[in-house]
Amino acid sequence: MLVALALARGRFPGKTLLDGVVHLPLVLPPVVTGYLLLIGFGRRGPIGEALEACCGVVFSFRWTGAALAAAIMGFPLMVRAIRLSIEAVDRRLEDAAATLGASRTGVLFAVTLPLALPGLLAGAVLAFAKALGEFGATITFVSNIPGETRTLPAAIYTLTQTPGGDAAAGKLVLIAIVLSLAALIASELLARRLASRIAG
């Protein structure tokens, strides 16, 4: 959210660069992202080593790594949605809040964020959907270990490669559809309620 805010309202050197880096996972082949994660966050990677030394956190070939990969891949979508919704907030309302004595953080929490809420929500749902479907980066980074890093798509993939796995794969596909649909509907309902609340 901070990144989205900076990109939407900030003006600073390197903004374009930050914009580029944030959006990179969106355009890079997921396998490349996964590989970069492996290099950076692997047990011998510079960041991975430091993290293990200081906090005992290990990413590579663990479920935490799968979560990290999903987060990285979902991040640009989320930032994008949040940024768009923040940019859509009427700046004149923020100005009005400032003349009424609101500080910058006051304006942010009392005006900007509440008005951008539907967008924040949409961003979260998009990121969730992306995380659910993420395959390339995850399998490259943390492989496909049963009970540890086997995500839903990885499991489906494995089953379809296994003779006689079709029935089990079908069940998982069904779960995926239900999960995605539920998330979409929930966000749609919430967004609609929020929008009607704040519609000027």
Binding site: L93, D95, A96, A98, T99, G101, A110
Partner: protein, 356 residues
């Protein structure tokens, strides 16, 4: 006292103004493109002037030489915008309290009092989108007042409203901004609003001040009340309701030491009222007329006789507490031998006395 002396360039346009607004209402009159919005933004702190100084009660809000530029929230200048700018996600009540919550340090007016004066008590739980344009503006005015400001800035608050809504809000505005005891800058393009609300007037044209001063003087100096506007030439005076004649539906007002009768029941005794005397509705007599239908016969002294357009002359008559202007023919002025110092009677039909 709000003082400013600022310059700002925006593209081809440049604003260069200097004036002071004392406690009370000062209107800034100008057409679109005259620099009104640039001025508003500079005073509110939403845009930075290139050079100059803005000070409120001797405290600098902006000073280009001293490097002072307070952010809007520290200026304590509450703004009422043309488009009300109520927060759509908050109730009317939360909107009203938005500024007040953030400044609990000193005594802003009591919530109940503001709500009552503005007549918005029944709107409190509602959301802005369900309000009419006039109601929105009333809430916006309340929100500004409740933020504990040291000056008020009105940016065309009535421009987006139709005539009916304007008429609905003006009395509230009038009551409130006379009472607050703060410098009030009222930016508008409508001369009627300025006349009704303000004592001082700044006329802005192309980013420069072309006239400034007491309202009628500035209007005359800017040439706003000439030519086609001649029919509306006149003066505006402050009077107080003294008595009501309910039988005939008339109001007697105290003006200087005189009693002026106006049509309609204007308000309760003691209430202030601004009256407008059009120059063409004022006649001049050397003796008080006997047995005439004219209800208002005001003794006074001629202050000056000015030659007007064509056959017209304009006579200023000091009636003690106010100076009326009478538009008569030059021939009448000559035959009555009107000259400064002459004792005369200004005659005004009650029918012709209107509220400003």
């Amino acid at each position: 006292m709000l003082e400013l002396d600022i310059r700002r360039r925006v593209g081809d346009f440049s604003l260069d103004v200097a004036f002071a607004a004392p406690v009370g209402v000062t209107a800034v009159l100008g057409r679109s493109g005259s620099g009104k919005s640039t001025l508003v933004a500079a005073v509110a702190g939403l845009a930075r002037p290139d050079h100059g100084r803005i000070a409120l009660n001797q405290t600098a809000l902006f000073d280009s030489t001293a490097g002072v530029n307070l952010p809007p929230r520290k200026r304590r200048i509450a703004v009422v915008f043309q488009e009300s700018r109520l927060f759509p996600h908050l109730s009317v009540r939360s909107n009203l309290l938005f500024g007040r919550r953030r400044r609990r340090d000193d005594a802003s007016p009591a919530l109940e009092q503001v709500i009552e004066t503005l007549g918005i008590g029944h709107l409190l739980p509602r959301r802005p989108r369900s309000l009419s344009g006039g109601e929105k503006q009333r809430v916006a005015i309340g929100r500004a007042l409740l933020s504990g400001p040291r000056a008020l800035l009105f940016d065309e608050p009535l421009a987006a409203l139709d005539a009916e809504r304007k008429a609905e809000i003006l009395p509230f505005l009038e009551a409130l901004i006379q009472e607050v005891g703060l410098p009030v800058l009222y930016v508008t393009h409508a001369l009627e609003e300025a006349r009704r609300l303000a004592r001082g007037l700044i006329v802005l044209e192309g980013g420069r001040i072309v006239a400034a001063g007491a309202i009628e003087e500035a209007v005359a100096a800017a040439g706003l009340a000439t030519a086609g506007d001649r029919l509306l030439d006149g003066v505006t005076v402050d009077a107080v309701v003294a008595q009501l004649d309910e039988r005939y539906g008339l109001t007697g007002l105290a003006l200087g030491g005189h009693r002026v009768w106006a049509p309609g029941l204007i308000g309760a005794p003691g209430a202030p009222a601004r009256l407008r005397f059009l120059a063409r509705d004022v006649a001049v007599a050397l003796d008080p007329p006997q047995r005439s239908s004219v209800r208002n016969v005001l003794p006074g002294v001629v202050r000056g006789v000015k030659r007007g357009y064509g056959p017209y002359a304009s006579v200023s008559i000091d009636i003690g507490g106010a100076v009326l202007r009478a538009e008569i023919t030059r021939r009448a002025a000559a035959e009555l031998d009107l000259a400064p110092g002459r004792v005369v009677y200004a005659l005004v039909k009650s029918v012709a006395v209107s509220r400003a």
